[in-house]
């Protein structure tokens, strides 16, 4: 905005109020004159925006801001405005693509303000603001776009970014680059036109182009094939012009030169000549050479097969070419003609020499052939004779060898037969001997058998006698054993009785290990006694067994305790125990063999059994108790059982 105001003031300045400008814009006046011709991008916004140009009074330092359009009407000087309106036309040198093609505000941009200074009323605020915003937006966009284009040409990275992301950026940048390029190289304009930019289209290669398998075709003079010279096409006319006189000249030369040298070809440009006529068609100097120059024809010898002659001809032709190029034909034509003649003579001489040498060589070859044939026949004959001689020798040797082998085999056969005979005889003899031995053995065995029979008859009686004796002995020993057993049983009985006495007599339980040990010793091998002793509980004979009186005494105590617990229920606590104890005092006591399963009757029955001495029955009765009664009488029962076991064992022992 600020710059725009300055611009406007600049534009108006020189004419509107010169006096004020004289002190303000003196320094700027010179650039102003230049600026009309030379504009840069920074000026653009002011160009597009024609509004500031309308302001006549903005040149004063007081109005830095652009005045509203309404102020235009109040501007006194119309001349300044008219000059300002001419500014956009003066800046038409700027390329149109740089100027944004936004529609200018109606009746503002193009129309000069003077025709309608009074008709433009003060615009309403929002519209003006919107317009201003639009304009600034457009200006900024254009500015940014232009700056982007400029900077993209300076910086490569930015160029990439700009062309890729900004719409129409690539086209714009390309356009400017091309313009600059054209400005720099104006001569390449045509070529550039002919070579369109790479637009990404597919390049088509014609099917006939490139290298092919074919042998190169003969170039016809008029044809312009694909292998034809590029320069020929362009300068076809010029070459044709220059050629026609040359050809004529060369024809003349050839006619002149062909007289002394008959081998020379009359053709103007022989295709087989080693020196190509490439020097003749020059593109851009056809006019320099005078057409009357005579050219010396290059030398050509038809049968120049020898390398020496070829070299010579090449040298001469080079010289001729040089002379032709120098246009000094007139000077050297005579000498060169002479040289040509000489060379043709030399060629002829060399040819003669060659034919003579060939003849000699063929004669020598024939002679050597015949010699070799003779030698070969001789060799064959000799070899045949030697072969026959050798064959005869080999046959003789073969016969000899065969005879020798035959003899050797016959001898071996004879020896084998003799040995086989001997072996056979030996075997027969052995068999005979074996038979004799067998017979003798049989005889001996028979004799022995006879003797044995005789002896058995006598000795049988003796053995019977001895048997009866042993039987008698056995009987006596049996008697002995019976007596022994008797003794043993007596001892056993004594021992058992001792044990029993010990048990019965003792007032307090005493161990009876000693007695039992004695009993075991006596009945050392009696299984019955041993089993009986083993059946006794070890605790019984180690601590002793109570007597029946003791048992009864203890039973009395146990019975009183059991009675206390006789009324207990199944799961009895303290209260039930106490009540049972109290109530059991009130129970009556039974007498005799009472019937019933209750504790009291069982106890009375047991007592009676005990008094009768029936320990077994008593134990059975007590075993019928249950619950606390059984637990209380457990120890007494154990005692009774021990006593019973001992008694049983002793009974068995005494019976054994």
């Amino acid at each position: 905005m600020l710059r725009a105001s300055i611009r406007s003031s600049r534009a108006i300045g020189p004419r509107a109020n010169v006096a004020r400008l004289g002190r303000q814009w003196d320094a700027l006046r010179t650039p102003r004159t230049v600026s009309s011709g030379m504009r840069n991008y920074a000026d653009k916004p002011s160009i597009a925006d024609s509004r500031p140009a309308v302001l006549p009074g903005s040149a004063s330092s007081a109005t830095n801001q652009p005045a509203p359009p309404g102020s235009v009407a109040s501007s006194p000087s119309t001349t300044g405005t008219s000059s300002a309106s001419s500014i956009p036309s003066s800046t038409s040198s700027i390329p149109p693509q740089n100027v944004p093609r936004t529609p200018p505000p109606p009746g503002k941009a193009n129309a000069p303000p003077p025709p309608s200074p009074s008709s433009t009323p003060p615009k309403p605020k929002p519209k003006g603001r919107f317009r201003r915003f639009l304009i600034t937006l457009v200006l900024l966009t254009t500015l940014g776009f232009g700056g982007g284009i400029y900077y993209s040409r300076v910086n490569d990275n930015f160029h990439d970014f700009f062309t890729e992301y900004v719409p129409f950026g690539e086209e714009a940048v390309l356009y400017f680059e091309e313009r600059e390029f054209r400005k720099r190289f104006p001569t390449l304009k045509g070529r550039l036109r002919s070579q369109p930019r790479d637009t990404g289209e597919q390049i088509k290669i014609p099917s006939q182009s490139g290298v092919s398998w074919k042998v190169s075709e003969e170039n016809k003079p008029g044809s312009t094939g694909r292998h034809s010279d590029a320069t020929k096409v362009e300068s076809a006319k010029a070459s044709s012009k220059s050629k026609t006189p040359e050809n004529a000249n060369s024809a003349e030369n050839s006619t002149r030169l062909s007289d002394p040298v008959p081998e020379k070809t009359p053709e103007p440009s022989p295709p087989s000549s080693p020196v190509p006529p490439a020097s003749a068609p020059e593109v851009d100097q056809p006019s320099k050479f005078p057409p009357e120059v005579t050219r010396i024809d290059p030398l050509d010898i038809k049968d120049a097969k020898e390398p020496v002659v070829q070299d010579l001809v090449k040298i001469i032709n080079d010289i001729i070419a040089v002379v032709n190029a120098d246009n000094a034909n007139a000077k050297f034509s005579s000498t060169i003609d002479k040289a040509k003649k000489r060379i043709s003579e030399v060629g002829g001489k060399i040819k003669d020499l060659k034919t003579a040498a060939e003849k000699e060589a063929s004669a020598k070859v024939e002679a050597s052939h015949s010699e070799f044939d003779r030698a070969a026949q001789e060799l064959v004959k000799r070899i045949e004779g030697e072969m026959a001689h050798q064959e005869a020798q080999w046959k003789e040797e073969y016969e000899n060898e065969r005879q020798k082998l035959h003899d050797a085999y016959e001898q071996k056969l004879k020896a084998e037969i003799e040995r086989a005979k001997e072996v056979n005889e030996q075997r027969l003899q052995n068999e005979l001997l074996e038979q004799a031995l067998e017979l003798r053995r049989k005889f001996m065995a028979e004799v022995k058998d006879r003797v044995e029979e005789e002896r058995e008859g006598r000795l049988g009686k003796l053995t019977d006698l001895s048997n009866t004796v042993t039987e008698l002995e056995k009987l006596t020993t049996d008697w002995n054993s019976v007596v022994d057993a008797n003794l043993k049983t007596q001892h056993l009985h004594v021992a058992v009785e001792a044990v029993r006495a010990n048990l019965e007599k003792s007032q307090i339980p005493r161990p009876f290990v000693k007695e039992l040990a004695a009993l075991k010793e006596i009945a050392s091998d009696d299984p019955v006694v041993n089993a009986a002793i083993a059946s006794i509980n070890p605790a019984a004979y180690q601590r002793g067994v109570p007597s029946s009186a003791q048992l009864i005494d203890r039973f009395r105590r146990v019975a009183s305790e059991v009675r206390k617990a006789s009324l207990l229920p199944e799961e009895a606590g303290v209260a039930s125990h106490a009540s049972s104890w109290v109530l059991s005092k009130l129970l009556f006591k039974k007498k005799g063999l009472a019937a019933g399963d209750d504790v009291e009757s069982i106890l009375t029955r047991t007592e009676i059994y005990l008094e009768e001495g029936d320990l077994d029955g008593a134990a059975r009765e007590m075993n019928g108790l249950t619950g606390w009664a059984k637990t209380l009488s457990r120890d007494w029962l154990g005692e009774v059982r021990k006593v019973l076991e001992v008694q049983q064992a002793l009974d068995r022992d005494s019976r054994a």
């Binding site: 305790e561 799961e571 606590g573 303290v574 209260a575 606390w628 637990t631 009488s633 007494w636």
Partner: protein, 95 residues
């Protein structure tokens, strides 16, 4: 506890050489019960007295309450010992 479960209980004959006779079992239990009743009730009374002196301004009822606690504890123990008879060494695990 873990020891008792891990090691099997040794045979009674070996572990208790002076094992009481079977007919004396009940008497022994009674003795135990009475002694424990005496001890526990006296302890309860003692605690009650101490509390009554310290806290309750020498009222009588704490002593009675202590006595009740002690006697109740002893009764409970005795009852359980009677009930548990024959199952010593067996741990019953309640769900």
């Amino acid at each position: 506890m873990s020891d008792s479960t891990n090691s099997p209980p040794p045979p009674p004959a070996v572990s208790r050489p002076n094992k009481p006779l079977s007919e004396a079992l009940l008497n022994e239990k009674w003795d135990h019960c009475l002694s424990s009743l005496l001890i526990r009730s006296s302890i309860g009374v003692g605690f009650g007295v101490v509390f009554s002196v310290l806290v309750f301004k020498r009222r009588a009822w704490p002593a009675w309450v202590g006595l009740g606690f002690g006697a109740g504890r002893a009764y409970e123990e005795c009852n359980s010992s009677f009930l548990r008879h024959g199952k010593e060494g067996i741990r019953i695990q309640r769900p």
